[in-house]
Amino acid sequence: METAKEQAAQYTLEPATDIPKSNHYYLNMGPQHPSTHGVLRVLLEMDGEYVIKAQPVLGYGHRMHEKMAEHKNWMAFMPNTGRMDYAAALPFNHGYAALFERLCNIEVPERAEYIRVITSELNRLVSHHLWLGAFLLDLGAFTPILYTFDDREQVLDILEDITGSRLTYCYFRVGGVCKDIDDKFVERTRAYIKRQRERFKVYNELVTGNIIFLKRVEGVGIISPEMARRYGATGPVVRGSGIAYDIRKAEPYSVYDRFDFEIPTGTTGDSLDRYLVRLEEMEQSLRIIEQALEQLPDGPYLGKVPKKLKLPTGDANFAVEAARGELSYYLVSGGGDMPYRLKIRVPSYSNLSLLPELAQGMLIADLVAAMGSLDLVIPEIDR
């Protein structure tokens, strides 16, 4: 059995020098810890309550999704995509389906694209609800998670009615979606948008304006734009640092270029900015959904797709904006109906790799807050 110290030596990049070694001790945060949300383990070298070094240790939830993709045709792998990011499965579905469409030049009916956008944005809201509650839970407030779950439940009911499941969706298909939306869906979504707008007031009163909350997040975990770039951070993390990078605008896919929405950006890159960016993103998602429901065309929801999809030799890449940032699939095909290799670039992985640098010199309480503001989903990192 290795001691924690030996393990630490294995994972620590270089020992910190400026503080006498004898004052340091090692602390394992996770894999079972209330605020690592799943099975992330962070090895901490600490001096009192200060974190000298933090080293995430991954792999506790590894399921070989990329390898599995090499032995399955597109449909057989589709359920796996939803299991990578359990909090926002539809963007993962979306990227995967769109990848094959790009590789095989498959036309997607317009209505299907709209349905994809609407459901993906609803899923982003679900994910942000979950994050908001969990983040506040990390900061020690118990009640907001129940409120956000109340709202989340409304969206889940809508999504369940149309996709058949509540969490790990397998709804998109190459060439469209597997079930059409109906008037009831449109109506319920409209009602939900109205309700959610009301609820933002409650969030703002209970959380955003709260002095304790502000004190806990303001100036905590500052990620400079330069640092965010260096680690390839994406999503609300990079936007919180002031870089307006969003795949939906930078490289519009599906029908995102037809909607009028904005990319919220922060100014300082601290946890508060990331919090505000996500809240604003929820509002923007509502706007996108509203417009999409307005413009929703009639037509088929599933295009013409050959029963057995023959992949041409070559490669393709497709990036979507998942709830946590840029998700891109890269596929190399050598013919046949299964990929030769599928590489999945997940946002949380890059966002987590910031942590060692970010955590240096932080209080442990701030580390929890900063980690919460990164919005990590561990199954997505481990895949």
Binding site: K72, M75, A76, F77, M78, P79, N80, R83, T143, Y147, D150, D157, E160, D161, I162, T163, G164, S165, T168, C170, C178, K179, V202, E205, L206, T208, G209, N210, I211, I212, L214, E218, E262, I263, P264, T265, G266, T267, T268, L272, D273, L276, V277, L279, E280
Partner: protein
């Protein structure tokens, strides 16, 4: 678009006290209001939610009232389409009937990923999703469903009623 920055204002000693006290009272107001609002949760298992008819539970054979059985022609498409290998279909040729008759349709629900491939590929639309979400058991074997058995059990009463009624 920048997010709002007015929360970061420098407030000074007394300004901070004032701002803080106000925000804390507003917080208390929100929770006090919630205290007197009705409950939103459902006391499962005393009450149950209405489940949408589109809910995707495990797969189930579709009942065909005309034949009193199912439409499955034992083509095995569903078993081949399943990414998790949880379907086993067997049939045998019977005298005087064209095609095969289904003798075994077993589903290993422990492995099912609820993707819906089987339902979508079935050429006869003989499969559907169950709406049963109250599934729990003590052993794995309890989740190895015999769908033919389940179909019979499900339709014993309706069948009798249909025979008696119209």
């Amino acid at each position: 678009m920048n997010v709002k920055t007015d929360l970061r204002a420098e407030r000074g000693y007394f300004g901070e006290l004032w701002f803080g006290a106000k925000s804390l009272l507003i917080g208390l107001k929100v929770t006090l209001k919630a205290l007197f609002k009705p409950i939103v949760t459902v006391q499962y298992p005393r009450e149950e939610c209405d489940i949408t008819p589109n809910y995707r539970g495990h797969v189930e054979l579709v009942f065909n009232p005309e034949t009193g059985g199912c439409d499955c022609i034992v083509c095995g498409m569903c078993a081949r389409a399943c990414p998790s290998d949880c379907i086993t279909v067997k049939g045998e040729k019977k005298e005087g009937e064209k095609g095969k008759t289904l003798t075994l349709f077993s589903l290993d629900f422990t492995k099912c990923s609820l993707c819906g491939s089987c339902v979508e590929t079935c050429p006869k639309s003989a499969l559907t999703y169950s709406q049963d979400y109250n599934i729990a058991g003590f052993t794995r074997e309890e989740f190895h469903y015999d769908l033919i058995e389940r179909l019979k059990r499900r339709h014993q009463q309706p069948l009798a009623a249909a025979a008696g009624g119209n």
